[in-house]
C-alpha cells in the first residue's frame, strides 16, 4: 500500500466532535454552574451619546436576591481603560459619559438572572442626552470630537500608494467613478458571548470559563486588568458556539466578571442573551467608498483610487484591522499598476467594530468587483471579458500587488475563472436569459474572483502527551468554535505519529494544557496549528526514540520508527508500538511530552471564482438564487468535508449580508434591528445548493501547503449578488451601490429607473 493512500490527510472523515454535540451534550459557558455563584446582568445605556448626571441604585440594592449593584461612580477602579485596545479603550462601566446604545453603565450581581434583570429596571440613571454622531464621513470632519483625548474622530488612517498613484488616472482613457456603500452587520453566533469566573483565595488563582476564540489573549488581558500573574489565571474555552471574529477582543463583561469574582470571592457568571448580542457585541462591514477607476479603451486596468470611511463605532474594537485589511484587498486578483488608497476608521456613536468573518476581504473585493462591472458598462465590454483581461496570470507569479508585503504566490486565477464559466455554461445561460426575458422573467448572472489572504503573523503551538494507555493527547491554544479542529488536527497528528485517528484526543482552549497560543481567527488554524502539529509530532517521535532506545537496549541512532512501531535497525522482529512504549515509560513516573511551535510571517493566498444565477421578480423585488457555483483553491486540504463546510457556511453567511442582514440605526444612533424578527439571517429555505469544485494548489509558504478556507465563501458574496441582480436588469441600466440589496432597497432602485413596467 502506498504511503499516500494510507494518509489521513485529504480524507473526508466525519467530525469526531459531532456525536456529543448533536445529542446536546456539549458544555457551553451557560452550562457551567459553580456552587454559590452570583449571576451578572447589566444596565446598558439607552442613549447613543449622553452625559450621566447621576445614578441612583438604592431601590435595586434593596431587592431581595440582589447582592451588589456596581457603578464606576462608586467603584473608581472600574473607570480604568480596559486592556488590549488602543489608542483608546472604554472603561468597564461608563462613569461620566456613554458613547453608544448598549454600553454598560451598572452591573447587578444577584442570585439569578430573573432577579438581576428586575434590579436592572430599578436602577435610575439620569442622562443628559448629547447629539450623536451616526455618519462616519461627517464625523471624520471633526466638527465635534467624541473623545477629546484623541483630538480627532479618525482613530486610524491607512494609506497605500503604488506606481504613479492618483496621477496615473490622467493617462487612462476613461475614469469611472462611483460611491459604493456597505451596511452594518452583526455576526450573531448561535451562542451569545458569556463568561464565568471562580476565584480560589487559598491558592490565589482564578479559573475562568470563557466563550472566547483565544484563551491565551484572554488570560493576558485578565491578568493585566486584575494585576495578577498570568500563571494565576487559567482560562478555559469550553464548547464555543460560533465566533466569527467577534468573540476575540476586549469587552467590558470580561473585566467585570473576573474583577467581581476576585473582589467578592464568589463565583460570578454572565451569560449574554440575544438582545445583548445585538446591543453590545461588536459589529462590522459599515463603510462608504468614493472610488475612481482608470481604465483603457481595451479594458486594461490602469489605476484604482479609493477614499473610504469606516464607521468604527464608539471605540476602536478591532476595527482598525478591518479597515487595513480592506485596503489590502482592494486590488483583488487583478493587475492594477497604480494604486492610491486612503482609508479612515472613524469613531461614531454606535457599537464598536471588530473583525467579522472576512474582516475587510469582502469589502475590498466588493469595491473592485463592483468597479469592474461599472467599467465594463462604460466601455460597452462584457463583464466576463474585462475580468479575463486583468486577472493576474500564472506566469506573473509570484506577483506583487503594489501593497507592501502582499505577494500572490500560487495557483492559476484565469483557469479557475474559465472552469467556473464552463461549469455555469455561460452561452447556454445567456440564451436562457434572453428567452426568459421574453416571458417577463428576469434572470441574472453574477461572477466574481477573489483572493483569500490568511495568517501571515505570529505562531501557534501544539503539545503532545503520551497517555498510559498509548493514546496521544494533543493540546493547542487555537481555540475552536465549531470548525472541527478536533478532527482535522487529529488527522494531521495521526499521519505523523502513524496512529489510528481514534487514538488521538484533541484538547483546545485551555491555558493549563499549553503554555502559549494566539487563537482561532482569520482562517489561520490549519496553517499555524496544523503545521505545528507536524513539527511537534516530529519532536515527539524523537523523544519517543530515546525511550525506545532505553527499552530496547540500543543506541538511539539505531532506533527506527516505521508503521507506528519503534524497532532497532536490522532487528525488525522486536518492536514497540505507542501503547507498549507507554507501558515501558510508566514505571519511571516520567511522561513523554513534547510542545512545539510553528511561526510564519508569510500569509497564504487561496483564491477562486464564484458564479451565481438569480431570478428576480420585478413586481415584488424578490430575489431567488437558482444556482451557485464555486471554484475554490484552499491549498492542501486536510478534510474535504470540513473544508466544504467552511466554504458553504461562509457563502451562506455572505448571502445574509448581501440580501437580508442589516443593522439599521436611526440618525440619533438608536439601533432599530435588535431581534431576529428585524435582523434577518438566511435560513435553510434561503440557502441554495452550492456546487464546489476544488483546485488544491499547495501553499509554498508553509511545509504542509495549507491555506485558509474559512473566509473563501464570504469574500465575493456582496459583490456577486449585486452584480447578478444588476445583470437581470441590464437593459434598464440598473445600478446598485449598497449592500445588502434587500427587497425594499431593490424596489427603490427600480423605482428610480421608472419602476415596474
Amino acid at each position: 500500500m502506498a504511503i499516500q493512500e494510507r494518509s489521513w490527510i485529504g480524507r473526508p472523515v466525519p467530525r469526531t466532535e459531532d456525536r456529543a454535540l448533536v445529542q446536546g451534550l456539549g458544555q457551553y459557558v451557560s452550562d457551567i454552574n459553580f456552587e454559590g455563584q452570583w449571576v451578572m446582568a447589566l444596565v446598558r445605556s439607552p442613549h447613543a451619546h449622553a452625559r450621566i448626571a447621576r445614578i441612583n441604585t438604592e431601590a435595586a440594592k434593596k431587592l431581595p436576591g440582589v447582592h451588589a449593584v456596581i457603578t464606576s461612580q462608586e467603584w473608581e477602579n472600574l473607570r480604568r481603560p480596559l486592556p488590549g485596545m488602543a489608542p483608546i479603550a472604554p472603561p468597564a462601566l461608563a462613569h461620566d459619559r456613554v458613547y453608544y446604545v448598549g454600553e454598560p453603565v451598572a452591573a447587578i450581581l444577584a442570585d439569578n438572572r430573573y432577579v438581576a434583570e428586575d434590579a436592572a429596571e430599578l436602577v435610575e440613571v439620569h442622562y443628559e442626552p448629547l447629539p450623536a454622531l451616526s455618519n462616519a464621513e461627517e464625523a471624520a470632519q471633526d466638527q465635534e470630537i467624541l473623545h477629546p483625548s484623541l483630538g480627532t474622530n479618525v482613530v486610524d488612517r491607512v494609506q497605500y500608494e503604488s506606481g504613479a498613484g492618483r496621477g496615473a488616472l490622467a493617462a487612462a482613457d476613461h475614469v469611472v467613478t462611483a460611491t459604493l456603500r456597505l451596511g452594518r452587520v452583526s455576526a450573531q453566533p448561535m451562542e451569545p458571548r458569556g463568561i464565568a469566573a471562580h476565584y480560589d483565595p487559598q491558592n490565589q488563582t482564578l479559573l475562568v470559563y470563557h466563550a472566547t476564540q483565544s484563551v491565551h489573549r484572554a488570560q493576558e488581558r485578565i491578568a493585566e486588568y486584575l494585576g495578577m500573574e498570568k500563571s494565576q489565571v487559567r482560562v478555559i474555552a469550553p464548547e464555543v458556539g460560533g465566533g466569527f471574529g467577534v468573540k476575540n477582543g476586549t469587552y467590558p463583561e470580561e473585566a467585570l466578571v473576573t474583577y467581581c469574582a476576585v473582589h467578592f470571592q464568589r463565583p460570578i457568571k454572565w451569560a449574554g442573551d440575544r438582545f445583548e448580542e445585538f446591543l453590545s457585541t461588536y459589529q462590522e462591514r459599515e463603510q462608504i467608498h468614493h472610488v475612481e477607476l482608470g481604465i483603457n479603451r481595451d479594458g486594461t486596468l490602469v489605476a484604482l483610487v479609493d477614499t473610504y470611511y469606516q464607521d468604527n463605532g464608539a471605540y476602536p474594537g478591532g476595527g482598525m484591522i478591518v479597515s487595513r485589511t480592506t485596503a489590502r484587498n482592494l486590488p483583488g486578483p487583478y493587475r492594477i499598476p497604480h494604486l492610491a488608497i486612503n482609508g479612515a476608521a472613524v469613531l461614531t456613536n454606535k457599537v464598536p467594530q471588530a473583525p467579522y468573518r472576512g474582516a475587510g476581504r469582502p469589502q475590498g473585493h466588493y469595491i473592485i468587483e463592483r468597479m469592474l462591472d461599472r467599467a465594463a458598462e462604460e466601455l460597452g465590454m462584457d463583464r466576463i471579458e474585462i475580468r479575463r483581461k486583468n486577472l493576474v496570470r500564472p506566469d506573473e507569479l509570484p506577483y506583487r500587488t503594489g501593497i507592501p508585503d502582499a505577494m500572490y504566490d500560487s495557483g492559476d486565477f484565469p483557469q479557475a475563472f474559465q472552469d467556473l464559466l464552463e461549469a455555469i455554461d455561460l452561452s447556454a445561460f445567456r440564451k436562457r436569459q434572453a428567452a426568459a426575458r421574453q416571458d417577463g422573467i428576469r434572470l441574472g448572472l453574477g461572477v466574481a474572483n477573489y483572493v483569500e489572504v490568511s495568517a501571515g503573523f505570529g505562531f501557534e503551538g501544539v503539545r503532545l502527551r503520551l497517555l498510559e494507555d498509548g493514546q496521544v493527547l494533543l493540546s493547542t491554544g487555537a481555540t475552536g468554535q465549531g470548525q472541527g479542529h478536533r478532527t482535522a488536527l487529529a488527522q494531521i497528528a495521526a499521519d505523523t505519529l502513524q496512529l489510528p485517528l481514534d487514538r488521538i484526543t484533541v484538547v483546545e482552549g485551555d491555558t493549563d494544557q499549553i503554555q502559549k497560543g494566539i487563537g482561532t481567527f482569520g482562517s489561520r488554524t490549519m496553517i499555524m496549528a496544523g503545521n505545528a502539529a507536524r513539527v511537534a509530532g516530529e519532536g515527539f517521535i524523537a523523544k519517543a526514540k530515546d525511550w525506545a532506545a532505553r527499552a530496547l537496549e540500543a543506541h538511539v541512532d539505531d532506533i527506527i520508527f516505521q508503521d507506528g512501531r519503534f524497532s532497532v535497525q536490522g532487528v525488525p522482529s522486536v518492536s514497540l508500538d505507542w501503547a507498549e512504549l507507554a507501558r515501558k515509560i510508566a514505571p519511571s513516573g516520567e511522561m513523554l511530552i513534547h510542545e512545539d511551535y510553528f511561526g510564519s510571517g508569510t500569509p497564504t493566498y487561496g483564491f477562486g471564482s464564484h458564479g451565481m444565477i438569480v431570478r428576480v421578480d420585478e413586481r415584488t423585488a424578490d430575489i431567488r438564487i437558482e444556482r451557485y457555483v464555486i471554484v475554490h483553491d484552499g491549498g492542501t486540504i486536510v478534510n474535504p468535508l470540513l473544508a466544504n463546510g467552511q466554504v458553504i457556511g461562509g457563502t451562506v453567511q455572505g448571502l445574509g449580508s448581501a440580501l437580508y442582514e442589516e443593522m439599521i440605526y436611526s440618525e440619533d444612533g438608536q439601533p432599530l434591528t435588535t431581534s431576529f424578527l428585524d435582523y434577518r439571517l438566511p435560513g435553510a429555505v434561503e440557502s441554495p445548493d452550492i456546487e464546489i469544485h476544488h483546485r488544491d494548489y499547495p501553499a509554498p509558504s508553509n511545509p504542509a501547503g495549507y491555506k485558509g478556507v474559512g473566509e473563501a465563501g464570504i469574500i465575493p458574496s456582496q459583490a456577486i449578488v449585486l452584480s447578478a441582480v444588476e445583470d437581470a436588469f441590464q437593459d434598464r441600466g440598473l445600478k446598485l451601490d449598497f449592500a445588502p440589496v434587500t427587497p425594499g432597497r431593490l424596489f427603490q432602485a427600480l423605482e428610480e429607473k421608472g419602476g415596474f413596467q
Partner: protein
C-alpha cells in the same frame, strides 16, 4: 431576556379561567405563548397575572355547524393545517397555515391567540375579515359574539373588554370554494410585508355573483372594502379587470413606511398580490362550478 415576576394560574375549566380574569385587573391569557412570551422576555409586556388555558379541553373542538364550523380558541395552527374538517369545509384556512411561521410555531400557536393578538400582518385575522368570522367572546358574566370586522380596532388592539377572552370562532364555509391567499415575505416564515386573500362566487353566466378581497400588512387592521366589492358584482372576470382592481386598491390603501418596506413598496406589493389572489380565486371558482355542474 427574562420576564418580570408574575402570578401564574392554571385553571381546569373555562368558568374558572373567566373567574380569574374577572378578579385580576392586569391578567393575560396564556395559550400558545408565541407572541406573549417573547414580549414578556423583552419586558415589553409586564402582566401581573398569567392565566394558562392550555389545560382547557373544552376549547379544543373543531365541530361542524349549520353554517360552517365552530372552532375552539385553543385549536393549534398545525391542527388547522391538518384537520380533515378544516381541509374540507374551510380549505383556505388549511392553505394559509403553510404561510404561518415555522412548524415549531404552528405546533404551539392557537387560533384564539392569533386573533386576540391582532397583528394586522398575520394571516388568520385576514381570513377572519375576508370570510366574516364571528368571534365568540366570554366573560364571567356573559357570552357574546363579535363580527371580525368589528373585532380588530388597531395594531394589537381589539374590541375585547379586559375581563373577556376569545373562546372560539364561527366560520361560515361558503365562498371557500373559489378562494385564494398569497403573500410576500422576505424569508420563509417571516411576517409578510403584504398579504392578499380573495374569494369569488360566479353566476351561471360566469359573471361575478360576489367577490371579496382582504389584505394584511397594509393598514392597522386587516383591510377590506365591501362597497368596492359590491361594484364588482355582475362584471365579467378577466385579467384586465384584476388589473383595474389592483390599481384601485393600490390607491385606496394607505400603508406606512417601516424598516422593511416603504409605503410605495407596500402599495406595489398589494397591487401585485391582489391580482394574483383574484386570478387564483377565479381559477378555483371555475373549477368548483364545473364540479358542481358535473354533480
Amino acid at each position: 431576556m427574562k420576564p418580570p415576576a408574575f402570578q401564574y394560574y392554571q385553571p381546569h375549566t373555562l368558568d374558572e379561567a373567566l373567574q380569574l380574569l374577572s378578579e385580576h385587573g392586569d391578567a393575560k391569557i396564556l395559550a400558545g405563548g408565541q407572541s406573549l412570551i417573547p414580549m414578556m422576555n423583552m419586558r415589553l409586556a409586564h402582566p401581573d397575572v398569567l392565566i394558562d388555558i392550555n389545560g382547557l379541553t373544552e376549547l379544543t373542538h373543531i365541530k361542524e355547524t349549520d353554517q360552517g364550523l365552530a372552532i375552539g380558541a385553543l385549536v393549534r395552527h398545525y391542527q388547522l393545517e391538518q384537520h380533515p374538517l378544516i381541509q374540507r369545509k374551510v380549505p383556505l384556512v388549511a392553505e394559509a397555515e403553510h404561510l404561518i411561521g415555522h412548524p415549531a410555531i404552528r405546533s404551539r400557536g392557537t387560533i384564539g391567540g392569533s386573533l386576540s393578538h391582532a397583528d394586522p400582518a398575520a394571516e388568520l385575522p385576514v381570513l377572519a375579515t375576508l370570510f366574516d368570522w364571528e368571534l365568540v367572546v366570554s366573560s364571567a358574566a356573559a357570552e357574546r359574539t363579535i363580527p371580525a370586522r368589528e373585532f380588530f380596532l388597531s395594531y394589537f388592539i381589539t374590541a375585547l373588554a379586559p375581563d373577556e377572552m376569545v373562546t372560539g370562532v364561527r366560520t361560515p364555509s361558503h365562498a371557500h370554494a373559489g378562494a385564494h391567499i398569497t403573500e410576500y415575505a422576505v424569508r420563509a416564515g417571516d411576517f409578510a410585508l403584504a398579504i392578499a386573500a380573495a374569494s369569488i362566487v360566479l353566476n351561471a353566466s360566469d359573471t361575478i355573483q360576489s367577490a371579496r378581497i382582504a389584505l394584511g400588512g397594509v393598514a392597522d387592521i386587516p383591510w377590506r372594502d365591501p362597497d368596492f366589492e359590491a361594484s364588482l358584482q355582475g362584471q365579467s372576470p378577466s385579467p384586465s379587470l384584476w388589473r383595474e382592481v389592483g390599481q384601485h386598491i393600490k390607491e385606496a390603501i394607505d400603508p406606512t413606511d417601516d424598516l422593511h418596506a416603504s409605503a410605495d413598496y407596500r402599495r406595489q406589493l398589494a397591487q401585485t398580490l391582489v391580482e394574483k389572489a383574484l386570478a387564483g380565486a377565479l381559477e378555483r371558482a371555475k373549477l368548483a362550478e364545473m364540479k358542481g355542474r358535473q354533480a
